[in-house]
Symmetry: C2
Subunit: 458 residues, 2 copies
């Protein structure tokens, strides 16, 4: 247990109008601060049992700030494993900010983003993967994402990483043990066992790496870029999709939102729609720049929807646009099929094609099915939510995988003492990178990286 | 105590990203719902003592939704005077909305705006004036407003209204008693006493009415309209004012915000700045319409700032604008005094005048002093925060005042039996209107009116 000398405080509810706001204080001064600021009937806060709350008034310490509930936890049975108090006061900006200010003037300091959770990690209550799950849960935009984050929070993913770590550690131990044998006494089966173990671990690591796509889509959403001429029916499509599936529309952190036109959920995956026409129109209209930006968006897109008005004759620009579609991620929507068809698309057999008459609400389900079929390349939509890795985990696992591959190459050529000696630093490097995932191995930079994306108050 | 058969539930923290969200459930089913959805070590929620909280997991009821704290209150010692539980779960939109949904499927219904506080009122824990203070506190934009709302919440204003009510009730009782006397036996002093009592109450009512201006400014902010030619220095003024005094900028409910350019606090009073140029520029530029809108804003303004560039020669338009200033609420800012002065303003001795060189940061304090001097017509800025009435209270008090005036007129002409008989319905009307303020007298329409402006979850 690491006891921090300083006591930290923050408003832990979102800003804005609401019934209730909460100020959390954690550290050795939490109870003395509560004693000084909070007045209630009966015994003072520090004399009260943990797991209790009491109604009273908060003073600064002379003027009354607000009426509030005080919740009391005692180390180590709290979120941070330190003494913790929470003032639950009236919502709105003033009461909570005044209470926070009073706590600061009584000796607390403002908590950094994620610092409560950082302390929970430093004090050994959770590992880094669980800590990351806290913000994944807060930022989840779909029930599928929430369920995956919760499993991660409760140790589902940690257990998998720990198992891989333990297995790799066993390999390293075997290598060390083998090195202690005189070479000629070495049982032939041992290097073979090491090789097959490494192979098994590599398979596990690759399985984990494959969950990244799903994790990425759950956390960041799938980028859906819509292109097509004006009047092809893009806004009708947007409205039809939103009308059925609008769920939660709010910021997805860490992504630029300038051009996002709409967000909706499809099978628990948040989709973020960008209209390339919008890209062209924004800013001081520079057509060339707009086309360049549109092209970049299309390259980054998880799904590219191209819309064609089938009642119009094909022109060269449209034909070129369809030619350029990437079949793996594109849907060609042939709209206005209820009108006499003048545009013919038979020449692109590889591109997913959906015929619609959106004005008559025909074809929407088919559009959704085609989007799902693209998503199913990354996510098993029929499976129950399960733990998935994040970009940070992926980077570490890629390093681990690289080391494992080197080990395999090494042992494929030579199973002798020399190979065993050479394998030691590779195994160590792989263990370090694996250890960094759950935080068995950590350094300040790593923690700063993990917690910098947290919100204040978590 | 009114026990409601139905149990209500709502998310009581603001939407958005934060560490913690809370779902509150109030009513007879609150504890059974907690038993069904919440699993924790040890005894089940309904077996636990009030004033305790416990850590556990929330299920829906099959799938786990989130880890959460459960807080337990028992009737009548709770916010609503009913059984109450609160689930304190992870922040963000998903966990709380899923828990709410689970509560609803277990028999709760969504709480209406203000319904928790409405139950606190119906169950006699607070009166209507205190109930209103809850939202005043949540919506307070300055410490002065917060302090005033807190005093109101704790009964400061209620006590004043109750005193006036009791005094008026005493008058009514005296009138009734006097009516029982045979007319010739009536002690001459009694009607006299009634008249002086009514006079005293009228004085009190007028005192209360005078606090409305301050209440209005604290709650809605002072509307400050800036006019003046382009390049007179309006944005420089805005930046200078904001640079010093920017405090809390957020929505003030119930006011149109389309044209608000900036908000800042001056001595605890929120000022909302509107630039008349902005009024003219917005929408499809229709100059006549713009001028009309600007004029309407200037009429409604609490403060009107007109800016003149002193380095430019006066033109007719400028002279007309200054002529039209209302001395009671206008400040004429003579800017660019550091340049050779070509514009002369001596002909308007009645208008508050401030000379500035804003580019050189000269005169800002003088501008603020002049704004304060206008505000001090409505608010005693040197006084400590005190309770102030709202628009609803004002309407009731105006009715009371009107009845009292009629009573005074009546008794001035005739102190006999007939006048006493005529006074009875007037007194009754005044008592009803006074009673409606604190809610001694209430009907559904009145409650709907009071609580409709509340947020969900309060």
């Amino acid at each position: 247990m690491i006891f921090h000398d300083d006591t930290i405080a923050a408003v832990i509810t979102p800003p804005g109008e609401g019934g209730v706001a909460i100020v959390r204080v954690s550290g050795t001064k939490a109870l003395p601060i509560a004693d000084r600021l909070f007045r209630c009937a009966g015994t003072s806060p520090s004399q009260r049992g943990p797991g209790t709350f009491v109604y009273g008034k908060v003073f600064d310490p002379v003027d009354e700030i607000d009426e509030a509930l005080l919740l009391i936890w005692r180390a180590p049975r709290s979120y941070t494993c330190e003494d913790v108090v929470e003032f639950q006061c009236h919502g709105g900006p003033l009461p909570a900010s005044r209470i926070l200010r009073a706590c600061l003037s009584e000796g607390a300091r403002p908590a950094d983003p994620g610092e409560f959770t950082r302390r929970a990690f430093l004090n050994g209550r959770i590992d880094l993967v669980q800590a990351e799950a806290v913000m994944d849960l807060v930022r989840s935009h779909s029930d599928r994402a929430r369920a995956a984050a919760l499993q991660q929070l409760e140790g589902g993913l940690s257990k998998i990483f720990d198992t891989v770590y333990d297995e790799l550690m066993l390999v390293a131990a075997q290598v060390e043990a083998t090195l202690d044998f005189p070479e000629d006494e070495l049982p032939a089966s041992v290097p073979q066992k090491i090789i097959s173990e490494i192979d098994r671990i590599q398979t596990r690591v690759n399985e984990l790496l494959r969950t990244w796509n799903e994790g990425h889509l759950l956390r960041d959403g799938a980028l859906v870029v819509i292109s097509g001429k004006p009047n092809a029916g893009k806004s009708t499509l947007l409205n039809a999709l939103l009308g059925h599936d609008r769920a939660i529309v709010s910021n997805i952190p860490g992504t630029t939102r300038d051009s996002i036109e709409a967000e909706f959920l499809l099978e628990g995956i948040p989709l973020r729609l960008v209209d390339t026409a919008g890209l062209r129109d924004s800013e001081d209209f520079v057509e060339k720049e707009g086309i360049l930006r549109a092209r970049k968006y299309i390259e980054r897109a998880d799904i590219h929807i191209h819309m064609v008005d089938m009642s119009q004759l094909a022109d060269e620009e449209s034909l070129k646009a369809i030619d350029a579609l990437d079949p793996a991620k594109s849907v060609l929507i042939c709209n206005k099929m209820d009108l006499p068809v003048l545009f013919h698309v038979e020449q692109w057999p590889n591109v997913r094609r959906v015929q619609t008459a959106l004005e008559k609400i025909q074809g929407i389900n088919e559009v959704k099915e085609s989007l799902k079929s693209i998503l199913s390349g990354s996510v098993d939509l029929s499976a129950r939510p399960h733990v998935v890795i994040s970009e940070r985990h992926r980077q570490a696992l890629l390093d681990v995988s690289r080391e494992l591959k080197q080990l395999e190459t090494l042992f494929a050529e030579d199973c002798g003492d020399e190979a065993l000696v050479l394998s030691v630093p590779m195994l160590r490097e792989a263990l370090i990178r694996l250890g960094e995932v759950t935080g068995r191995e950590y350094h300040e930079d790593l923690l700063d990286q993990v917690f910098s994306s947290f919100c204040i108050g978590k």
